[in-house]
Amino acid sequence: MPNKFIQILLLWAIVTANVACSYVADYIEGEITNRARFSISAHYEAGTGVIVEWDANPGNDSFAGYEIYMTQEPNNEYSDYFVIGAPYDIGTSSYFQIDGALSNSSTTQFIHTSLPPSGIYFYRVGVIEWDERDYNNDGEDEKKPASPTPALYKLYTNIAEISGSAMVEIP
């Protein structure tokens, strides 16, 4: 009986130390609502553009790429965002740039050169993942397509993780 007691107590201690606390439920809710999880930096450099840097370490085998977002309105922190950088041509604004390096998980920098008029803007970085589905019609779901295409990217990807915002003043 004492051994059983100690085993159960240890199990409880290990499980509760790792699982049951206020952080856990918050983390789960954050996953549901796509909570900003990591910080980035962004700054304007004359002659270069806005340099956005991050360290996201996506490390999952359904990684599809990074996307860079910017506030739609100048001088408004609470504006919605639109995409201005992606590995494929998905953007609809004139500030959008395709950057093939964004499909590489080890990429940590993006230089935005198609800049909007002067003002304060906020940037974010999204980690994009493939939806799990049957890409090769073999009756079984795959984590990513064997040959990614822009069409598949537009249809079957989602934001897995998103950064907090970084403020940049564009002169």
């Binding site: 159960i8 699982v19 049951a20 206020s22 796509n34 100048p74 992606a86 604004s93 907090g164």
Partner: protein, 447 residues
């Protein structure tokens, strides 16, 4: 499939309530300022309330293990926020998120040998009565719990991914509150049940970019201690203490159980519980709607040593009764305060009405199998709190409210979804939730 058909209408009703709630953005807009979320004493009451609810479930279902999660969203908070783009402050729509998780273990450390062991009955995992047995009299059980509640405002932002569609993300905004309980439970069946534990209250400021570092810093954590004793599940005493004072206690008596010791209770009688609560509710804090004793010389920046305290006493009666698959329950709560309280805005004395609260709820179980429930609940209530008009644009201090809930239970998993509007249990936790729709979901795994 035919059974599922019966659940379609309640599901559609709740779905409509949900859609109505999330799409009524212009309803009851109010700029959120002072926050009672800063009231750690009140938050400690909330987390304990759920702790005790979980243990009621564990005891009544003879569980050894319970893992539970509960997510609650309150919409339509308009919060004055600084916009780094414009350099001005503006009302920004936010959502209050409240999440709870719990993990509890209960196991026998001593079980007397019974003369007629009942091991012949085969176990059927769809029938709880074959594998969940009542605790044996005179056995000793030991339990452990860790649970935590998080409260905080979040802001949703839309992300336009061009031809890849639109998604949304959320940022933390303003202080985030994390309250955790670690507790131990001992039971001498059926005579005594003891709980004792510590509540850790922590407040973390998010980063400017909307992210949060879970920096567990003991120096910023305040502690409270709680304990409860229940005798024969008839007489129950619960209390909470801060480091220098007893903040609250609650004594309740289950009249029906008490009478059943000496006499046979007629089947038509409901379960009747009476109780008495004492809670040091008003403490001259900035978030309190009233000053204690007098407004003279008081301010929201006064030092702790000058603050006065008033205790709210409440007296409640709860009746509950099952009629086959149909459940009914109702309760009333009366109140009085031990000192004069003065409205902070008018500096006039506040006279609390005798009736603080009444509620009634009805449920119907659409399944009729032991260990399996699919209960549709509807409830109404009337609730008074002097903070109501202070923390909202509500014109007076009482309101009616309702809730609708679907509660599904299987032997190992439970699921629940609830929609409410001015439900007393939500207002009692956070008065700023007044005139707002609340959506809540919960799930548990149990053995």
């Amino acid at each position: 499939m035919r059974a599922l058909h019966h659940y379609t209408i309640p599901f559609i009703v709740l779905l409509c309530i949900h859609l109505f709630a999330v799409n009524t953005g212009s309803f009851a807009q109010y700029v959120y300022e002072a926050s009672t979320l800063h009231n750690a004493a009140s938050r400690s009451q909330t987390v304990q309330q759920i702790f005790y609810q979980r243990w009621d479930t564990i005891f009544s279902n003879y569980l050894h293990f319970d893992a539970y999660i509960h997510l609650n969203w309150v919409y339509d908070f308009y919060v004055n926020s600084y916009n780094r783009g414009t350099g001005t402050t503006q009302a920004v729509p936010m959502r209050l998120v409240r999440t709870f998780s719990d993990i509890a273990l209960l196991f026998p450390v001593y079980t007397p040998v019974t003369e007629t062991p009942d091991e012949a009955q085969p176990v059927d995992i769809t029938d709880v009565s074959t594998f969940r047995k009542p605790w044996v009299d005179n056995s000793i059980l030991l339990g452990f719990t860790a649970c935590g509640y998080h409260y905080g405002l979040t802001r949703t932002v839309d992300i336009n991914r061009g031809s890849a569609g639109t998604e949304s993300a959320s940022d933390y905004a303003f202080s985030q509150f994390f309250d955790d309980i670690v507790a131990i439970t001992a039971v001498f069946v059926p005579y005594v049940t003891l709980h004792a534990g510590i509540v850790f209250n922590q407040q973390i400021e998010p980063n400017e970019d909307g992210t949060l570092d879970y920096n567990f810093d003991p120096s910023t954590i305040t502690k409270r201690y709680f304990a409860s004793v229940s005798l024969y599940n008839i007489l129950t005493w619960r209390s909470t203490a801060a480091k220098d004072r007893l903040e609250s206690y609650d004594i309740s008596l289950n009249i029906t159980q008490f009478l059943s010791i000496t006499t046979t209770i007629p089947s038509y009688l409901p379960q009747i519980t009476i109780g008495y609560k004492k809670y040091q509710k008003y403490n001259d804090e900035p978030y309190d709607p009233v000053w204690v004793s007098t407004a003279s010389g008081k301010s929201n920046t006064m030092s702790d040593s000058l603050k006065q305290h008033a205790t709210l006493y409440t007296y409640y009666t709860t009746l509950s009764k099952n009629f086959g698959n149909f459940f009914l329950a109702t309760s009333i709560e009366l109140q009085h305060v031990d000192r004069t309280i003065v409205d902070k805005r008018t500096e006039q004395k506040v006279s609390l009405p005798v009736m603080r609260l009444w509620w009634a709820k009805a449920g119907y179980d659409l399944m009729d199998r032991p260990g399996w429930d699919f209960i549709v609940w509807l409830g109404v209530n009337k609730f008074y709190d002097p903070a109501m008009s202070y923390h909202s644009k509500h014109s007076d201090n009482d309101t009616g409210g309702w809730f609708a809930m679907i509660d599904g239970t299987s032997p190992y998993i439970t699921l629940s979804i609830k929609a409410s509007y001015n439900d007393y249990s939500e207002l009692d936790k956070l008065i700023e939730a007044i005139d707002k729709y609340i959506i809540e979901g919960s799930a548990s795994f149990r053995i």
